[in-house]
Amino acid sequence: MRASLSTDRIDRAWIVDRIVQVLMFLGGISAVVFIVGIFVFITREALQFVFSRFDVVEFFTSIRWAPTSTNNATYGALALMVGTASVTGVAMLVAIPFSLGAAVYISEFATGRSRETLKVLVELLAAIPSVVWGFIGLTIVNGLIIDVFDVPIGLNVLNAGIILGLMAAPIMTTIAEDALKAVPDRYREAAEAMGATRWQMIRRVVLPAAKNGLVSAVLLGVGRGFGETMAVLMASGHSINLPTSPFDSVRALTATIAAELGETAVGSDHYGALFTLGLFLFLITFLINLTADVVVRGIRNS
């Protein structure tokens, strides 16, 4: 018998395997550590304010955000929330048709070189810094809106929404395209063999099969919309307002934090209030992601 127990020893490969497993575990667990860490930090900074000065009713229903008022500081965040939501809403109206259209074209129609070129260009678009987008909003889109709609100010919900939509579209396109590519070709062939036209095949087979990925692409765009700061700060007009039309200027939650945090004394009510806004943003984003997860899981199970 050639085999013997002498091969049963801890060798290099065994050790390397163990080390790699530990490293991978640390990599995986780090996401949890960071999330919990950030949550704890933001909450700690916010809690002081929440327990002393915070007024739930005022925070969620008042549009008076006047933290620097010396004798009557108020912390109503409703206008900021509506500002963020309205800009994100317009952004999605812009981004969803653009990104899904681009993704379907790249995945289903474009071939060979044009397809590769398009993919590279879309990825390049995603790499443009947000301050550049903000600048475009401030100059080009601003002028366009004033000219086209004949309004006095072009820095408003529409402007920020367009800019944000264009910003979010590339990454949404990339994710949506990945989702479409993941649909096996045999589905396409089977559908076309039955006489489905291209569009019938896309609408009835490919899009439903890619639904999970498409939903995540859209929700990622929504998350991006809530979180984007610089471009929104520059393009939205940054004035506290409950918008009644797309031509009203608004102020976003993120922009408020960015613009004011540098001016506050650490530990002051104003400082705590900004962290409370941050906590609120964090919870909203968490909720969006959770919803995405539940939706995707629901689709997978049915």
């Binding site: 589905y187 062939e189 559908a191 076309e192 063999a193 039955m194 006489g195 489905a196 019938q200 439903p208």
Partner: protein, 254 residues
């Protein structure tokens, strides 16, 4: 129907991928209400032949088809609406492709493409096609579950039901039994025998005996050409003039 009219008339068909010819000089006719068996080893050009018929070459830019393929009297490449052509031809692939839809929606797919909307009408088509594919009894209680959750043999019968829902003139099966257990294979063979009354069938098969059991006439493809086409009976009774055919049928190669 007298069973002798030609549904498909193929003349001097050649197929190449780039510079590589996979099939050349094929001339044959497919007659109404017959089962035409096509046998031959892998790489003989059988699948490419089927793809040329329903113009699936449109999906492969390097695939080049020459010669004529008259389907119902018009060359398939002269059909202005390739989709309408494909709706007349049912295809069953080697590996079952259950679309990522429910059992019901899989079978209702083609009728819906054809514009049928009424639930009652669709219900009727779905039941009829599933019954004819010998699958109804097994799935009638779970029409709303995903087609891909069925077993392999059931999925293959689902694809047959789906092909039937097109109400095709011509049904093409490409090695349908490759991923199916023997019992299911026999059930599908019984189904095909009945379908012969209503449509014309091209049966590409890797099982020589399957052609013998089912086909009225059998063509033998080898290395990109058609060696011969004759009545199944004569081919299997050793009346062939070609030693390759005899060797293949007797299992000496393949």
């Amino acid at each position: 129907m007298n069973g002798s009219e030609s549904i498909l008339d193929v003349r001097d068909l050649s197929i190449a991928y780039g510079s590589k010819t996979v099939l050349s000089g094929v001339t044959l006719d497919v007659r109404e209400n017959e089962i035409l068996g096509i046998i031959g080893p892998a790489g003989a050009g059988k699948t490419s032949f089927l793809q040329a018929i329903n113009r699936m070459d449109a999906f492969n830019a390097s695939m080049k088809v020459t010669g004529t393929l008259n389907f119902l009297g018009r060359d398939v490449r002269a059909w202005r609406n390739a989709y309408a052509l494909r709706r007349q031809i049912g295809v069953v692939f080697p590996l079952p492709v259950g679309l990522p839809l429910t059992v019901y929606d899989n079978v209702a797919f083609a009728p819906r493409l054809a514009g049928k909307r009424s639930r009652a009408e669709l219900d009727e088509i779905v039941e009829r096609c599933l019954r004819r594919a010998a699958l109804w009894d097994e799935v009638k209680d779970r029409l709303d579950s995903l087609g891909s959750l069925l077993s392999g043999g059931q999925q293959q019968r689902l694809t047959i039901a789906r092909a039937l829902s097109q109400d095709p003139v011509l049904l093409m099966l490409d090695e349908f039994s490759i991923a199916v257990d023997p019992v299911t294979t026999m059930r599908i063979e019984d189904v095909l025998k009945e379908l012969r009354q209503e449509m014309t069938i091209i049966l590409v098969t890797n099982l020589v005996q399957q052609a013998r059991r089912l086909a009225d006439r059998t063509a033998f493809f080898l290395d990109g050409r058609m060696v011969e086409l004759g009545s199944t009976e004569s081919l299997f009774n050793g009346e062939t003039l070609f030693p390759e055919t005899r060797d293949y049928i007797e299992g000496r190669f393949g």
